[in-house]
């Protein structure tokens, strides 16, 4: 435009560094996904429990982690929580704890929505057949709910990958952090941040195209 000369050589020369950053981003995503999934599986039944003393705490947990900005949660778990319980957290640990707890809250809602979306008649019919809660869940409800949960799960996973960029603010070496380090060394923000944005767009677009493909295939098998 106004005589700005693009020079991407700084990006090509430092591609290994950016690749390491991307690996860091993916690592955080997978670890938080795993813990978040387990936590969600644990909390969803509590959230749906008939007992108020189980339902209330689950509800409060879910709402706190869904409503608070993730960056605020991350700062709290990095700067406040370790002092409170008298431990030291490295950026990696704070990132995993925050993003797992946040994902757990979202996944609990994904599971709940999936289970509750199964028609009432299915519940009644299984009860009429004399099935207990666990068997009814395993044999009738979960297989049907599973399909509906899968898509929401992948969409949430993509959101989580986007959220991992926040860990750069507490100096965990993800893709965005490596880019910032590089910018401070080379003073080429235009090329580096544009390249990094392009990498994120490529990865996320590829993932959402995959999810949409899955969605179409599942819609076909439904019909």
């Amino acid at each position: 435009m106004n005589g700005t000369t693009w020079d991407f050589s700084v990006v090509w020369e430092n591609l290994p560094m950016l690749a390491r950053g991307l690996v860091g981003s993916l690592q955080i995503t997978f670890v938080a996904l795993l813990f978040g999934l387990l936590l969600g599986l644990l909390v969803a039944p509590l959230r749906m429990s008939a007992l108020r003393s189980l339902r209330m705490p689950a509800n409060v947990y879910i709402n706190i982690f869904r409503a608070t900005p993730p960056l605020v949660l991350l700062f709290w778990f990095f700067y406040a929580f370790p002092i409170l319980i008298g431990v030291r957290f490295r950026p990696y640990e704070a990132a995993v704890v925050t993003l797992s707890l946040q994902s757990g809250a979202f996944f609990a809602e994904v599971f709940r929505a999936g289970i509750q979306s199964v028609e009432r008649g299915q519940w009644e019919a299984s009860r009429a057949l004399g099935m207990g809660y666990l068997r009814l869940m395993r044999r009738i409800i979960l297989p049907q709910a599973f399909k509906r949960m899968v898509l929401a799960f992948f969409e949430r996973a993509i959101e989580l990958f986007k959220t991992t960029t926040l860990v750069s603010t507490i100096a965990f070496a993800d893709l965005l952090y490596e880019a910032t380090v590089l910018v401070n060394q080379t003073f080429r923000p235009l090329e580096i941040y544009t390249a990094v944005a392009a990498i994120y767009i490529l990865v996320i677009t590829a993932a959402s195209v995959g999810v949409r493909g899955l969605e179409r295939r599942m819609a076909r098998s439904d019909a």
Partner: protein
């Protein structure tokens, strides 16, 4: 575990937090208005007949939906000014990033809302001799916007959550003010807990409001049927 909480330490700084909250609202408010206006425009482009209009709109939406907001924010603050050879305040960069991001998401909401209107409404409008823009303004949008209110309010809440990211480029919003207070008081637990609680109360009540609006709109829709 035996930490002695002392909120007295940050008692002197309520006005600092208040100033931050005002900036948070300004940032969210401006970005919401700009984002919705731009989103309506881009959403309309998606309905154009010419691919010269639909394609750029589709690419624009994908780019902003498929990249992390923090990357967009950093790009608009550090890269964009180099590109257009100017300097930009952090607040301006944050407004740009959050507006574009909101516009991409709301463009899809507008598109979905418009598509949800029964084809009979379009046909009836045409049969009355209305043309594109008039038909859109008089018949389609009034019905579509009603259905879009809950998701758009949800978008506004998401946007308010996102404003916390502006603290990373030193926009003096609520979280950034919290950082400042922490830097002088060395009371991270109290400071960040108070900041988190303010966000929580603000956004949780927003979510409850959306639920109520959704239920009420759902009910009145049923009456009209």
């Amino acid at each position: 575990m035996d930490y002695a909480w002392d909120f007295g330490a940050i008692n002197r700084y309520w006005s600092v937090l208040w100033n931050g909250l005002v900036v948070t609202f300004q940032l969210a408010g401006i970005s919401l208005l700009a984002g919705l206006a731009l989103g309506l425009f881009v959403g309309m482009m998606r309905f154009a007949k010419s691919p010269v209009l639909t394609w750029p709109a589709a690419v624009y939406i994908e780019v902003f939906r498929n990249s992390p907001v923090l990357v967009q924010l950093v790009w608009f603050y550090y890269a964009f000014p180099v590109l257009i050879d100017t300097t930009m305040s952090a607040f301006m960069a944050a407004v740009l990033a959050l507006s574009f991001n909101t516009s991409a998401f709301s463009a899809e909401l507008f598109r979905g809302g418009i598509q949800s209107i029964d084809t009979g409404q379009w046909e009836a409008g045409r049969a009355l001799g209305m043309r594109g823009p008039t038909l859109m303004r008089r018949i389609i949008l009034p019905q579509a916007i009603r259905r879009m209110i809950p998701p758009l309010t949800g978008r506004a809440i998401e946007l308010t959550k996102m404003t916390a990211l502006a603290s990373t480029i030193a926009v003096p919003e609520l979280l950034y003010q919290g950082k400042l207070i922490n830097a002088v008081t060395f009371r991270p637990i109290e400071t960040y807990t108070v900041v988190a609680v303010i966000y929580l109360v603000l956004l949780w009540s927003g979510t409850l409001l959306v639920d109520r609006v959704e239920r009420r709109l759902g009910r009145s829709d049923a009456w009209n049927r």
